[in-house]
Symmetry: C2
């Protein structure tokens, strides 16, 4: 015991080195707290802080006004009939899959779906069929393929898929498909349609009904300026009673949420950041314009080009950078040279070791910061251009 105490002293003093850097990691950009949320963090950081006046349901707490947020503001925001908070987007997807599927059932995902969608299906025991993408360089998901795949599943298994999912946008290329059309196709076959908006809800305007979604999933820590882990899950009145079915033994407890989900700081920061989120989605066009400017700029470096559908419609982008890969082969730091050079210029968030391609996000960076990042890539290229000869 005394030894464990001694060895654990280091955990007392953990600092986040990246705080002073421009962080290009797409995971991180949309989760930075709003000023309003940051201001109250200390007040609500203890354990179960929001539960002081809980009557048994997190989403019905009146003080702080969780009920108003979850039952009034959140559905309006998502364009759904009802909504809840979850422990994250993946937990929301699992709840839907666990509700709709039996072991051995088939579901249909876009092939650009996040790993956590596949893992959630696997945890449920569902088989996943995927809608193919168009391959390099666009990796586009054709919404019309949902019809082909649904027919194919029907032919192969005798049943329609229990759920169709579209990642909107996907987390690799920032691609959008025509969700409205995909949703319409699914509904023609009576297949419920889930929109995974982990990278859109909180960044841009998303309306589940207008996009024909039966379920909308979002991520608080990824895109809603909230402290993790927290997600949002909206649905229609058609699925409300099924998805949020209550326990037989404890009449007020919702089974898929195990009675309650993201209690504490995550829900309070989600609420505190909500006005900021509503404001920032109005400036989405500027964010897209910034991303396009950045991609155009660094495409001037020989060989560098963005993948995914162009011009980009999202701040998250995937870039092929064969020139940095060539440099890495001749650099003594190998693949890590790029990370080191960026870091010396105050930039982080590119996956360590990657030089051939990587993803990054310019979300909420100022134009000066974006210029600094672009300049950094140019400087690094120019510094090592000689190695290419």
């Amino acid at each position: 015991m005394e030894e464990l105490i001694l060895q654990s002293q280091k955990f007392k003093d953990l600092h986040r080195e990246t705080a002073k850097y421009i962080n290009l990691n797409p995971l991180q950009r949309g989760g930075i707290l709003s000023d309003a949320a940051r201001k109250i963090v200390n007040e609500w950081a203890d354990g179960y802080s929001v539960c002081d006046y809980c009557g048994g349901c997190l989403d019905l707490i009146k003080k702080p006004p969780v009920e108003e947020f979850v039952h009034d503001k959140l559905p309006k925001f998502l364009g759904t009939d009802t909504a809840r908070v979850t422990n994250g987007a993946r937990e929301g997807k699992f709840a839907v899959l666990h509700t709709l599927c039996e072991k051995g059932d088939t579901v249909l995902f876009d092939s650009n779906a996040h790993y956590s969608s596949f893992v959630a299906a696997e945890r449920v025991g569902a088989e996943v069929v995927t809608v193919p993408n168009s391959g390099h360089p666009k990796f586009r998901i054709d919404e019309d393929s949902y019809a082909d795949k649904i027919e194919e599943i029907k032919k192969d298994t005798g049943k329609y898929p229990k759920l169709a999912l579209l990642t909107y946008p996907d987390g690799n290329y920032g691609n959008f498909s025509d969700a409205k059309k995909a949703g319409k196709i699914c509904h023609e076959y009576d297949v419920p349609f889930l929109l995974n908006g982990a990278y859109s809800v909180g960044r841009m305007h998303i309306n589940g009904k207008k996009l024909n979604a039966d379920f909308v999933v979002g991520s608080g820590h990824k895109s809603m300026a909230a402290s993790g882990p927290i997600g949002v899950l909206g649905t229609t009145s058609e699925y409300e009673d099924i998805l949020f079915r209550k326990s037989a033994k404890y009449k007020i407890k919702e089974l898929e949420l195990l009675g309650c989900t993201s209690r504490g700081l995550p829900i309070i920061t989600l609420m505190a950041s909500f006005p900021h989120v509503l404001e920032r989605i109005k400036r989405w066009d500027t964010e897209v314009a910034n991303a396009r400017w950045f991609l155009n700029k660094i495409s001037e470096i020989p060989g560098i080009k963005p993948l995914g559908v162009q011009p980009t419609e999202h701040d998250l982008n995937f870039i092929e950078t064969p020139v940095f890969y060539e440099i890495s082969k001749r650099h003594k730091k190998r693949g890590y040279f790029l990370q080191k050079e960026l870091k010396s210029r105050g930039i982080m968030g590119i996956k360590p070791g990657l030089t051939k391609f990587f993803k990054l996000s310019t979300y909420l960076l100022t134009t000066d910061e974006i210029r600094l990042v672009a300049d950094a890539f140019f400087e690094i290229y120019e510094k090592y251009e000689g190695l290419l000869k």
Copy 2:
């Protein structure tokens, strides 16, 4: 949209009224952050903060040293071969149940089990048989009854239960059964044994192996001085590969954890508070002594008596207070008088409206604070004694 923005401004300025009160809610007392954790809250409150250097597994992150904490310190602390963090104790229980049970299987719980244990079983589709308690006033769970109930389940269903669970202590009376003995009995029938330590892990010394537990569940926000939501889940090498089985498609992702769980502030506060937690469990005897002093003291008020096994072995206690109920019948505020009177004395955390019985915790209160709380109950009794005549 503009209307939604206008109506949402209120969420910017949410304050926790209870911060300045002595909070007797058992939920809240063990989740108060340590000084070390509080100091770093601002640095790590953004979204996914701990994931800056993630290679794909939360529990393998080296910077901050999550890997060392989860894979070395946590198993040592829990007395298990391996451990992970989860989104909470309930999510840990669900993961175990979901791993071991098929729909229709039977599991055995103590009848004092937390509602979330029952809800987790119901979500899995498992039938729950309970070990009875001794009823009023002790509500004791007899560990020997595990054998009877396992035999009974075998007789009724033809199969042994897939899991036995003991709540250690339960969340109503703070009762402990002989876990070691219950675990031994379960093992004689080859029934895996889960110890729900949501109210013990982080408060007192718990060693899974010594208590014959195959699974140990704990709660970060309830008892480990961490920001919610977060839990811990330990198991033996026998169950490690089953419980933490990996995805077939994504080889490093653990299915029951959906690839990753409580990312962000919860894990970093759990780590930062760990040295404090190790120190405080050494003072557990003092906490129990304080709770006994308090129960003895307020038992001097006519009719007031603690339920559960006495003398208490835990800071969480259930008290029968018929005298306050009698007063409430004659008081113009009815059941709310008690809450109001306590509040005016700087005390919160008794469930609003309750006067006949309620639970409370004295955990980590100073002796002065405990005396203040006891005095408050005496004062309130004396103030309204006249109403009883």
